[in-house]
Amino acid sequence: MMAYIVRRLLYALPILIGVNLLTFVLFFVVNTPDDMARMQLGVKRVTAEAVESWKRERGYDKPLLYNADASGMDRATDTIFFQKSLKLFSFDFGASDSGRDIGYDISQRMWPSLAIALPVLGVGLLVNISFALFIVFFRATYIDFGSVVLCVGLMSISGLFYIIGGQYLLSKLLHLAPISGYDTGLSAWKFLVLPVIVGVVSGIGAGTRWYRTLFLEEISADYVRTARAKGLGERRVLFVHVLNNALIPILTGVVVILPLLFMGSLITESFFGIPGLGSYTIDAISSQDFAIVRAMVFLGSVLYILGLLLTDLSYTLVDPRVRLL
């Protein structure tokens, strides 16, 4: 097992290097730090000195790949590539363009993100799976047809409308929850209710359809026919046999997104004013803070690869047919 994990981690390394190189090219080669400085300082009427000092303050005044002026190891390390890109591997994100410590901000902001993403995932799973089981129980009837049409309809509504509609209905008209905001500690719960409800409702369409197909695939399997041949009732077949076996794909599907929950949701967080990583990213994008965007790209890739690794591991744990070799 250990050897397998180590090998998978080694596989992940080249991918991370690739991501790193890609972001480096995107952020420093396509547009030079000079362009960035001019953009930040206002395109017109910007002096060369202002550009230079902007670059010096943020450490962008070094050569890109090779520093001919330095001596020894510094030739390779005192460069933008080493300082800004390679250091990401040690999760040293450095300072943002506005001077704040990115690593500290991330460690503070991932908890609010998680406080929304986890309930949305948990409640969403429960709702979607129950609804899907309900549909499958009444399969090939008008209930089935109507529910599928409803799901397609729900899927066709943009997530933005769920948020706007939820805020308007629950907060403005019914005054059930605050429209937006956040609080520290446990008193944050009342700010979490609305985003969680909106998050769950907006996921029902696609989620339920997905689980429905999953259950329908299971239901035509041989073991189901055997169970029916034994004389088991439809309810027992569906809720015990099918559900148990369908749990494997459900579980692995959940595991792959678990690490990414830390990243939060861009839209939800910015709409509801929750200080998570999603709104952090949005703020960085709108204030054009490239250091933060770069850090988030790298962090996102790391978490995604971690999710893939966890998926493979969970496969081997739940399904003994999958061997680690």
Partner: protein
């Protein structure tokens, strides 16, 4: 003077390719069969009619020109005014040019906000002023408005019915000639729903669409049927213009990534070994970057480039168009991996098929084998992907524009409409019409695309076919 925008060219090219593929598929039984099943499905036909309407609007909006500036004397070199218009703009000139001062409700005759109006006798009152255009032909709006709306709608319904009847008669007559039946017989056949292609469903949905278009069109000439926005622009006009943006994002994204995805996918599956490793590494790496962040990073870089190279763009429209194309490209980069993987798997399978093995054994070169034997047999996957990805991309556009990393803020799009209207619900009384308009148009488009995608998927899925 005709202006060729990048996305225009690509849209027409895509249309030509899809039509070309249609002709090709009609001649090959294994392709005609599943697509025929799509056309024989009532849902498929209805959604195709609705999507056809959207496509026509988008295509009319994809012919751009620069009108001659008025008042220039003709002897000097022909001067063109700065703005670039499309055929749709020219057609909707009444809608485009009738701008009010600020918000007004749908079918309103008065402005949303009170203003100080100076009466002829010199006194000043705070009142809702009359709109410049909406319902301007009415002498006493409070009394005449409803009757006028009703009468106009009735007349439009009659016109719509007439046009639909003409289309139906011509269509059924043509079908009858093809089938060698009398007109009456064919008409009865269609009406009882006994034709293999559900023409009745097609004609009924066409009727609904035509009636809606005529009513909306006739009323839009007299009123702002979906209200006006903050700067007084007609919301109905904005929604119609947004159709093109949505369709461009939804189709061109798949289209512009096609060359890379097809080439790499087939190469990986066909050559296997080292080539396969490299290509798999490439798409795993791209796939592992969260899509939104990659798009954000790329759009930020584009903004910098545009800010530093302003002289490279002739007009705002060209600039917005290039940004749109770039957005398609970068969305394509984040979404091509799934298509590439599919094509790789399919080519892996095809490579082992007897006729490909025979071709290789006979000494046919790799390029020829790929072009002649593999490519034609994976093309249907490409078209299915185009249909399946469409609705997701239209929705993605709205979200990205909301985050300001989508289309250019000057471009009409549903995302921009939502973005500028998101705080309007908090007003007292709430300004709901911009959001509702964007919602209605987006929902119709995405819902029909989703339903069509289901029909297409069912038609091509052999497992479902067996169970029927």
């Amino acid at each position: 003077m005709l202006v060729l925008l990048w996305t225009d060219v690509l849209m027409w090219l895509l249309l030509a390719l899809v039509l070309g593929f249609g002709v090709y598929a009609a001649r090959h039984e294994h392709l005609r069969e599943p697509w025929g099943r799509v056309v024989r499905h009532p849902t498929g036909v209805v959604t195709l009619v609705i999507l056809g309407f959207f496509v026509i609007v988008a295509l009319v909006d994809s012919v751009h020109y620069r009108p001659r500036a008025e008042g220039q004397d003709q002897q000097s070199t022909v001067a063109h005014s700065g703005e670039t218009l499309s055929l749709l703009d020219a057609w909707l000139t009444p809608l485009r040019e009738r701008e009010e001062k600020t918000y007004s409700e749908p079918f309103a005759t008065h402005l949303y906000a009170k203003e100080s109006i100076e009466l002829p006798d010199g006194s000043v009152v705070r009142e809702f002023p009359r709109l410049k255009w909406g319902g301007a032909h009415l002498a006493d709006p409070s009394r005449e408005r409803l009757a006028d709306i009703g009468l106009t709608a009735l007349r439009a319904l009659a016109e719509g019915l007439l046009v639909w009847f003409l289309v139906a008669v011509i269509g059924v007559g043509w079908l009858g000639r093809l089938g060698g039946r009398s007109f009456g017989g064919q008409w009865a056949l269609v009406w009882r729903g006994e034709t293999p292609v559900p023409w009745r469903a097609a004609l009924l949905s066409l009727a609904a669409l035509l009636l809606l278009c005529f009513v909306a069109g006739e009323l839009a000439l007299k009123y702002h049927i979906l209200g006006t926005d903050k700067v007084g622009e007609d919301v109905f006009y904005q929604s119609l213009k947004s159709i093109r943006t949505g369709l461009v994002i939804g189709t061109l994204t798949t289209f512009v990534m096609l060359p890379a995805a097809v080439l790499l996918g087939i190469m990986a599956g066909y050559f296997r070994g080292r080539v396969d490793d490299v290509i798999q590494y490439l798409y795993t790496t791209l796939n592992s970057i969260p899509g939104v962040l990659l798009i954000a990073a790329a759009i930020l870089m584009l903004q910098i480039y545009m800010a530093n190279h302003q002289e490279a763009f002739n007009s705002l429209v060209e600039r917005a168009d290039l940004r749109l194309l770039f957005l398609c490209l970068i969305l394509g980069v984040t979404s091509w991996t799934s298509l590439c993987r599919l094509l790789r798997g399919e080519s892996l399978k095809l490579r082992e098929v007897d006729y490909v093995q025979a071709a290789i054994a006979l000494g046919v070169g790799h390029a020829r084998v790929i072009l002649r034997h593999i490519l034609p047999n994976v093309l249907h996957i490409v078209l299915i992907t185009l249909v399946l990805d469409f609705s997701g991309l239209v929705l993605a556009e709205a979200v990205l524009s909301y985050v300001n990393i989508g289309v250019d803020p000057t471009m009409n799009s549903w995302g921009n409409m939502i973005n500028s209207a998101r705080l309007e619900l908090a007003r007292e009384p709430a300004v709901w019409w911009s959001l509702t308009a964007a919602f209605l148009f987006m929902f119709t488009l995405v819902l029909s695309a989703n339903l069509l995608a289901d029909v297409v998927r069912d038609a091509f899925d052999p497992r479902i076919r067996q169970s029927r």
